[in-house]
Structure formats: C-alpha cells, structure tokens
Symmetry: C2
Subunit: 708 residues, 2 copies
C-alpha cells in the first residue's frame, strides 16, 4: 500500500551529472559505492570518490560514502617487503550524517552542522540549433563539463579546516594538469576526463597510494604512479570559503562507426584543458543557469516526490545525450541507457515533449534522419499472401556508437514471436505523432510543407495496415509487416511486458495511439490545405473511435488489452494516445463531452477500475502498473499516464492512485533502482529494477509541469 | 628441490600475442579464463573467447577453455518475461584434451586427434629504423596486428565439420566489418580492435546473445545488440581446410600526455579495416616470418624449458612495446608491464641485448631521449654538506601514457628509505653501459662521437659519487644524491628485495656493475682517442677491482651484499656487471686468468657456494634466488645471471643449479605466474608472482642464444 504516511527510508541512489551532448556522466550518490567519470558506459563508473572535510588537520576526514575502502597499491610495487597501510584517518559518513538535495540542475550535500557543502551543477538550458551555433555561444552551450563547488564555513573555527575532492582510478591513472601546460590545479586521466579548480595558496594537489596521509612524495609532493588523486583545500580559521570545481570530458576523433562522426564539442574545444579552463572561467554563469533551473522546479506545483522524479530523470536524460558532427552538420543521438541503442524511436516519441521545450531542433533532426536513412517500405501479410504495405521506420539507428545500415535497426529480428521482433506499426505512428507535434508546436511550416508527401505516404501506410481494401477497414491494425518473416508478429514498445502489451495487432494501446495519429494528421493536412486528406483522416479517427467503443466489455467495465483470444488483461496505456492532442490542445479531440465522448466515457470507467489495488495499482507497494497481468512496470510510462489521466480523466484518480508518487520516488531513491540512476523497468511489488537502467526516458515527467 | 624428474603438471598460462609497437595484446591461454583484445592494460582483457570445432553440426562444440560460462544478456532486454537460455551445446576442453605449443613466434593448439589446429602468429623480425621506413615496408613492419589460422582436417569425415573463432564483449559491443564498407568477414569493436577472415561460402558471421545456437536473427542473420560474436567456418566432408585470421588494433589520435604523441602506425594505416585487410593480404609473408623465428629457436641449443621461457618472454616484451610519433619523428617506449612506467631505465639496460639484435635504433633513441629530456645534474651529500655531484638520468620517463616533466621520473620520491627513492647512481651506470654497448655493438661511431662530452661528464659524475676528493676514492659509490632529501638514501633497481639489494652505497651488485662501466668507458675513450681518459678509466677499474677483493670474507668464502653494518646476505647479481664486457667480448676483462683474476677467483667461490639449496637456490622449489635473505626472486635477472655464470663461472654450476630451468619454466606455466603472462617478481618457494606481472624484461633470456 502507499507509504505516504510512513517515515521515508534513508536514501541511496546514483545520479548522473552530465554535460549536454557528451554521452558522459560523473555519477555518484549510491551509499558505499564508487562512481565517477564515465563515457558511453552502460552504468556507473568504478572510481573511488573522496569528497569531504575535516575541522582541523588533527582530526579524521569525514567523507561522503562514495567509495569502497581504499587500499594502497603499494604492494604491487614493493612485494612482500612492504607493509602497506591502507588509509585509516577517515570516517565514511552515514546517510543520517548528511543532507542531500537533488534539484533540477543541482545535487547538494551538507554535513557537519551545515558547515560543509558540496554541490554539483548541471547547467542545462535551451540549446540553440547547433547548426547555427558559433564561437563563444557554441562553447558555452556545448562545453563537455559539469560544474560544482566545495565549501566550508570556518567562521567559528579556531584552527584551519580542510576540504577534499578526489578521484581514485588505478586502472587508467591520472596526472597533474600542469604537466600539460595547464595553469589549472587538477588532474587529467589521459586526454579523456579530469577535474580542476583555480590554483591558489589554499589549494594543494595530492597523488599517490593514499591521498589522506601521503607516504611518498616526489619533488613537487606527488607520486604519479599512484592511482589516487585529490585536491585538498585549506579554509583558514575565521573564514568561510567556497572553491569552484570543473569536471570535464573530452573524446577526440571518430566516435561512431557505420556513419563516422565525432563529438560536436571537438569543433569548439581544443582539448580537455580548454574545456576545464572554460568551465572555471564561466563558472558564475553556469551556476546562475543551474540556479534558474532549480528555481523553476521549486516554483512549480509539483510535490516533493514529483520534483525529485523529474530532477533525477532529467539528469539521466542528459547523460544519454550525444551531439555528434558528421560531414559539417550536427548529428543528434539520445542513447538508450544500459542498452545504448541509438535514437530508439520509442524513446524519441516520449522525449518529444521535453525536447520541444529545450532543444526542438533535436526532434526535427531525428525525424529527418529517420526519413533519410532509417525509412523503409514493406509488404504486409494477409492470410498467407504478401501484398504491398507502405512506409515505416526502424526501431532505432544502431547500438553502442555503431550506426546500423540504412533501413535497418539493431534490434529487430525476423521470425520472432515477442521481444526482438519488428515494430513497423509502432514506428510509423511514432513518426507521424512526433512530426506533427513538432511542426505544430514550433510552427515550423516550411518543414511541414517539405514533408507533405511523406505524411500522405504515412496515412496511406496506416490505412493499408488496417486493411488494403478500404471497405474492410475499422481503423485498427490487423496486418503484420512482411519483415516479421514467416511466423513472427509485430510487437509494440511494451515488448517486455506480457502479451497484453506485446502484440501489435488488435492492441488497445496501439489502437488509441493510432487514433491520436489520425487526429494529428487531420490537423496537419488541414494546415497543408489538403482538405480531402484532412477529411479522410477525420473520418478514419471517428471510425476508429467507434470501432474501439465496440471492444468495451460492458460486463466488466473494462477494455481488454488485446481484442483477440479472450484476453482480459487491463492496461493503463489505454489512454496514452491522447497525450498528443492534449499537448497540442486540440480541444475537439480532448473534450470529454466532445467528438469522442462515448470513448471517453468508457476509458474513464476503464481507468477508474484499473487504478485500484490489485488491478493496476500494485497490491503490495501501491505503485502504478502498466498491466494488471505483469509486475514489470515502467516509470516513464507511469509519468505519461499520470499526466493524461490527471488532465483528461481526473475522476479516475483514487486516493491510493494519487498517493503513489511517494512510492515511485522511493523506488528510485532506494538501491533497487538507485544503483543505476534513473531506472525505467521496475518490478512493481519490490521496486527493484528489471531492465532499462541508467535510462533517459523518465523526462516524460516534464509533462507534469504543464498541468494547471 | 628441482622437479626435473617429476611429471610436468598440466599447463595453464596466458600468453600475450602482440603487434610490434602497438602496446596491445590478444591474450589467452589461462584455463577457464577470458582474455582477448587489450590496449595499454595492466593485465589480460576480460573477453570470452570461443575457439573450437565440432565434427558435425549435430554434435556439441569442443572449445578451448578460454572463457567463463557464457550467459545470455537477453534478460536485460526482456525482463522477467524471458526464459533466457545460456548456451549449452558446447564442452570446454580440459588441458588433457588438447596440446599447446608455444613457439618463439607462434602459439599452436591441436585437438580432436590432431584434426583441429588453431594457431596465433606473432611475426616479429628485425625492424628497420622507423625514421627511415616508408610506404609498403612501413606498413609491413608496423602493422598493428597479429595473424593466425584455424584448421580442420575432415578428410576422413562423412559430414561437414565446423570451426568457430569468436569473441564476447558485451560491455563495448562489436559490429560486422561490412557495416564499415569493409569487404572482410569479421567484427570490429568501435574503431579500436577487431578480427577478420577472408569472406567465402564456408564462412558465416554470428552475433547475438548466443553464437552457438542463435535464437534471434535479423535480416542478415545477426543481432547487433548482442555482445557475442563469432566466425563459423564449414569444412566439407572429405576436405582439409585452413582459414586465415587477422586480429587488429587501432588507436587513433593523441595517445600520450606530457609529450603529445600518436601511434606511428597511424601514419601508414587509415584505420582498423585497412590494417585487417593488410593482414589478410600479407598473411603468407607474415606466416613465413613467424616460421623463421620458430625454426631459429628450435635450431638453438636451448632445452625445451629454456625455449619456452624465451618464447613466453618475447611475447610479453612485444606486448609492452610502443612506437609513437612525435613532431615528425619516432618516439620509442617500452612499458613496464603492470606498472606501465615508460622506458624505465632499469629495463632498458636489460632489454639492451635483445634490442641490439632486433631493433638497435630503439636503444639509440631511448638513450637520446634520456639525454634530451630526462638528464639532470645533482649535488651529493658528504656528511651533512651538499657538494656538486654530476650528471645522471631519471628512473623512467613517465607512467600510463603520461610523460613526466623534463628531468623527472614518475617513480622517484624524496626523503624515502627504500622503495620509491632515487636511483641516481644506478641510472648513471645504465646510461654509460647502454650507450657504450650500443655504440660498440652497432659500430655507430658518429653517435659515439656526438656523445663524447656526455661520456666524459658521466665519468666525472661516477668519480665524484665515489668521492669528490680523488685521493679518497676506491671506486665504490659512497655518497647519495641530494635528490634523496634530508634523510633518504639511494636505492638500486633491486629495490623491492631486502636491504641486501636495496641500498646503493657500498653495494656489491652496484660496485661490480660500476666496474663494468669503467671497463666500457676505458674502451670507449680509447675509441674516441681520449687516451688520458681511457687510462684513467682503466686505472679506476683496477682500483675498484682491487677494492672489491678486499671486501671478500675469507672466513666464509662469500662477498657480503652490502659493505656495511656486518651485512651477510648472499646475492647472485654479484657478477651481473660482467655481462657487458662479456657481451662485447672484451677478452682482457673477462679472462678468468687475466686482469681481474683475483676478483674472478673470489666471485667463483662466492657463486659456487651461493648456488646451493638454502642459499641462493630455494630450499623448497630449487629455483634461483637473487638473495639468500629474500624469497622475492626475479626471472629476468635469473636469466641474466645464468648467462654470466654459464659463460664465465661454469665451475660454479651444481647439478641442482643446472636443473632449475624446469622450475623456472613451471613457475611461468602455472597459474601462479601464468595468469599474467610473463611475470618477473616471483616468490621462490611457491612460484607465485608477487609483482612485475605482464612484464617485458624476460627477454634477457635472449642472451642464452649467444652461448656456445
């Protein structure tokens, strides 16, 4: 049951702190776990982080618990003659010893009666079209870094206090930035990542086997064969001091295969040193940006749990963003978390709302790349015959920095019944919905006009998948693509749930999404002056709505998840397709008493009954479940469903349903999900992730900010 | 005791298969362990390798045991709805099921009644000076690849047999080479490494969660989100077929920091595809080269254990080589195994003999870089006064692809008593010995002339470290560099042994090495027409030899390891310093009845007594120990000592001492060392490594080939 009234368990979760478009994260936050700098990884890196303070040089260090007990690597060099001493003069703070607050663009820790503050800042903002970004503006928006600071209030102190920020990476090794002719105080790992502060008399570099009590020091006090590094800051008695930090990434050269490209930021930054220096130079501006974001979220009507969920989601989204450069042009990719599939269309259509606010050009560029490289025309199966199908798009564009060949995804296989099959109908809908939503929201009429014939081809493709014979159409997908082979079937994005959401044909979720697509096409065609096509889309939408109403089980008051074989699963994404007309404020389509009133009435009944414990509220946890017959639930889709239901079906929300924000937030705040930052696939009874870790899609929660 | 007569235990050891100068290895051979492609790593990579055969498509695969049981990564995608099936239709061959033979340039496995053969070829050869290499010759010598083949003799078979060569790398992901417009059949991991064969109708690509029984196949039969890849070859009934393999590495762009440089091979190869295609195109020539090397070792007088030791050592040496390019010129580095220190001078002086045979320019270039960037002039401590010292050189040039600042090593610290202190005297000797040996062996007179003043400065520096006052000199180092600080002392390369070898002052090993240096200077100065300096060097050598004879303990018949504080450790490197005059065949210096006859007599007594069980033969294993008072022994130095003793003190060799080759080979063939390919530091009783893993220095064993 919802745990809104029970005391919150102590938090332990990783958060990705990421530059925009660098597919890189500085990850930390899981208690007693390492993290640190990672590029293109499936999950957190494994560096020990030493972040803390001590009130005087005579006392032990107090460290945030983001490391495993450091061992000295001295033995490897000295052999058995050594008596290596692992560092001892520290204590690892327990969660009760510090406060952590995750803002929309900041992550801040306080300890030692608030004398100690450590904060990481992710200054995300509206990114101008990179194709037009030049000079200092390009550097500002594309800098591959995150900022932060470390602070101690020693105004009441009688002795100098010390602060530490350090990273242990014995496998790769770090070196002082000064060795690369950088004026900064800090360390770099090869040419790939590093951290820095401004040099000064209160800043000391440490490197060796033990940064707390260095045993070996060379002419400058370091031992560069040691994998442990740190900046140690002194705060004189009677003073309060804040030291800026810049954490940077730099990956030069060709990053992707299949389609060779490099990071866009390499056009604007010479190397890591350049990026770190820029970060410290513009530290105040980046800090203001982060403060603006934090304030926006704090000003919102979201409750604390919702704010946390959106903040955590945004951090993981940014960690998966990748702005590449290919033949003189931007090439935009969002990676799919632990799977690292590239521009998975199922995610694009969900990131849509967030991206239209912050980087609308990314939506356009992704649509264009789907058209130019990842479109195909198929045939469809009717009984055992193959007949012409129509236009559609692949599920993704590749995986792990590899672009798949034109017209082919990394995921879709032939002759498969279930996961890894094709998603032809789903991706066709995704293109239509993303395209029209983009064009309508941004008012990009020239783009809409350029894609007129494509939208018409999409409409025709939708029709034919219903039935090639117009007389036999009811608006619902009934025919699988020939790409599924001789015995496979098309699947939906909900492929890893049970069959209630896995099959495309006669699928409730997909049918309502199809309805959304026809409503958007109706408007787009009207905008394009295609009156006949607009009327056809309108008529198809009405036909489909009418067909849907006939699927309603009057005996149970539910829709079945699949209109086949007596399926009786109950699903929350029943109304997902209405998010697009809702977002575009197409009043006629979203008026409960309007054009689709009968369908709305049925959906309201369906959702009201579904949002009860034991149906689509988990009987144990109280969390929302996508399907009554699967305990695998997806946070990003919960967020989307919450938005649609709160806006269009508020009567369906029971107290239990409303209380679930706390449940969903606790899932992410606990190690079951938190070990991998934002997780999407979660077992609804235990709150433990079962897939889609380190995942970008939680930014569907951004829709919550649109609610009145 | 020596185990020469006991049955050999079954072998389990990794071997590095490495291109020349790419600091990269394809490592395999440890039973039930992964390995594979690694670049700049401290030890083996962690990829599963699938290498084997089956007599028909109906039977299970027989695989060499170089993997951990493969798991399907399907669950991460499917969630709990999945019933992922780990591959089952294989058996992992046990060591008794296959024969493995490591040649000097090949590693070959046979199984299935010799029907199955798999071989990796490391075609090393005399490398011309890279500064002068051009065009096709440069491509041939610098290609970042190793070759191999896989074969099945199905002439007696009634059904098609199959062969497999595959790599599982789920963290990084691989993709088919054809996606990068390569005509080859194979896979690439990003742009960094890959493997290929020639395409043909008997070659099939596999990729997915399971390469043995692929469950999911896309339009071309692959699933590129799967981290498991393989080439599967068909051998028709009645035929014997051999398929070539090329394994390649490619690391573009700036590789080092401190001194920015890239791999030399990137000047000659566009990318990984180019390298792999080259490897298959020139497969026959590379194979011939490897066969030539194998035959040379097989023709030698070395016994089987010695051959194995030299072969294993050469493989690990090549894996640590790194030919870089800096401002239009070659930049040569040998990395120091797991420590990855760069051009550690203690290693350079030992690699010297091997390198003068195979790549003499590398010796010259390293000497020049020590002069141009890593030389310094110090002061020395007399009582508590600092007085001018002289020229010397740093211990190394950096660590983990980072070049340290001029005049500074990554290793040497101040105010240290023991490991991590400075090695000023040791490195001064190393420069003198390496320089004169290079110039005399190659006959590079212009280089010798260019370095005349430097050699004179070295001689003066040697003198002053004995004593600034000529009247107080006896040839033995007595004064530490000021770099050791207020309370440190200079150490020798044997720093991780006990004090018997760790202190430089009054050190037997270092004193005899100093004698070697003066002998070489005597000759070099004569060659340069510096009669007076030659005479001085001659006199100093004689003085030092005479001083040494006075340190002999007539009561015990031993030299003490350190001429201080009643030290009574007994060490084998007592005669190490004679390897240089021996190598250069300076008859007067190495004639037992000649100029140093009294010293030779004493050394013979010392060594004869030392080479007894319980002294410098380990009482448990029979292996050679560097010091009677440390169980940490070093293979590379054993090999060197064996050479010197067999050539100059053959009477000292007891049966037990002679039988130890088997012990030393077994250490490396067993997992105690074999888990890290060639290991240098070994506990002499257990044969388990205690440092210096994945190490290049074993090529001192190359000296054995010079023995008559």
């Amino acid at each position: 049951m919802p745990s809104a009234s029970s005391p919150a368990p102590s938090e332990s979760y990783h958060t990705q702190h990421s530059p925009f478009g660098a597919f890189a994260s500085f990850t930390l936050g899981l208690v007693d776990s390492p993290g640190g700098f990672g590029h293109a990884l499936r999950g957190p890196a494994r560096q020990n982080l030493y972040i803390g303070f001590r009130a005087s040089t005579k006392t032990d260090w107090n460290l945030l618990p983001y490391f495993t007990p450091p061992k000295s690597n001295e033995t490897a060099f000295i052999g058995e003659a050594a008596v290596p001493q692992a560092p001892k003069n520290y204590r690892s703070l327990r969660p009760g010893d510090y406060d952590r607050h995750l803002g929309w663009a900041s992550d801040t820790w306080r300890a030692g009666d608030n004398r100690f503050t450590f904060s990481l800042l992710t200054p995300f903002s509206r990114i101008p079209d990179p194709a037009k970004l030049r000079g200092e503006e390009a550097r500002f928006f594309l800098a591959p870094l995150v900022c932060g600071f470390i602070e101690y209030d020693n105004r009441q102190g009688k002795t100098p206090a010390e602060l530490i920020f350090g990273v242990g990476e014995p496998d790769l090794g770090l070196h002082p930035l000064s060795d690369d002719a950088s004026p900064l105080a800090g360390f770099s790992c090869g040419t790939d990542f590093g951290y820095a502060t401004k040099p000064g008399k209160n800043v000391e570099l440490r490197q060796g086997f033990d940064v707390f009590t260095p045993k070996f020091r060379d002419y400058r006090g370091l031992l560069v064969i040691g994998g442990e590094t740190a900046l140690v800051f002194t705060v004189p008695a009677g003073q309060k001091k804040r030291f800026p930090l810049a954490l940077g990434f730099y990956n030069a050269g060709t990053i992707t295969t299949g389609l060779a490209s490099s990071y866009a930021y390499t056009n604007h930054f010479a190397d890591l040193r350049d990026a770190l220096a820029h970060g410290l130079q513009h530290h105040a501006r980046y800090t203001r940006l982060a403060r603006d974001r934090d304030a926006e979220l704090d000003r919102s009507r979201l409750n604390a749990d919702q704010r946390f969920l959106l903040a955590q989601s945004t951090h993981s989204y940014l960690g998966n963003t990748q702005l590449l450069w290919h033949r003189g042009k931007p090439l935009w990719v969002v990676n799919e978390g632990e799977y690292r599939m590239m521009n998975t269309f199922d995610l694009t259509v969900d990131h849509l709302f967030f991206e239209l606010e912050w980087l609308p050009w990314a939506v356009r560029d992704t649509l264009d790349l789907f058209v130019n490289r990842y479109a195909y025309t198929d045939r469809i199966r009717i009984s055992d015959r193959l007949v012409p199908g129509g236009l559609s798009f692949t599920h993704d564009m590749g995986v792990m920095n590899h672009f798949t060949p034109p017209g082919r995804s990394s995921y879709e296989c032939d002759n498969v019944e279930g996961c890894f099959s094709h998603m032809t109908m789903e991706q066709l809908l995704n293109w239509v919905l993303t395209a029209v939503t983009y064009a309508e929201k941004t008012g990009d009429r020239p783009w809409l006009r350029r894609n007129k014939s494509l939208l018409l081809a999409c409409a025709e493709s939708l029709h034919r998948r219903d039935h090639p014979d117009p007389k036999k159409r009811d608006g619902i997908l009934k025919h699988d693509t020939s790409r599924t082979g001789t015995h496979g079937w098309e699947i939906t994005t909900y492929d890893s749930l049970d069959v209630s959401l896995g099959q495309s044909r006669n699928n409730l979720y997909l049918a309502v999404k199809t309805l959304g697509a026809w409503v958007l096409l109706e408007n787009a065609f009207a905008r394009l002056g295609l009156k006949k096509d607009s009327a056809d889309a309108c008529a198809t939408a009405d036909l489909l709505a009418s067909s849907l109403t006939k699927k309603f089980e009057t005996d149970t008051g539910f829709f079945p998840a699949v209109f086949e074989k007596g399926n009786r699963s109950r699903i929350l994404p029943a109304a997902e397709g209405f998010v697009y007309p809702l977002y575009l404020d197409y009043r006629d389509a979203i008026d409960p008493a309007g054009r689709f009133a009968p369908l709305f009435d049925q959906l309201r009944q369906h959702l009201t009954q579904a949002l009860k414990p034991g149906v689509c509220l988990d009987a144990t946890s109280g969390g929302w479940k996508m399907s009554s017959t699967s305990r695998n639930t997806w946070f990003s889709k919960i967020a989307l469903a919450q938005h649609v239901i709160r806006e269009l079906f508020p009567e369906s929300l029971s107290e239990a349903a409303l209380a679930a924000d706390r449940v969903h937030a606790d899932w992410q705040r606990q190690p079951g999900c938190g070990a991998f930052a934002l997780c999407d696939q979660i077992l609804s009874d235990t709150g433990v992730t079962c897939g889609s870790r380190y995942y970008p899609r939680g930014v569907t929660a951004w829709l919550w900010l649109l609610e009145k």
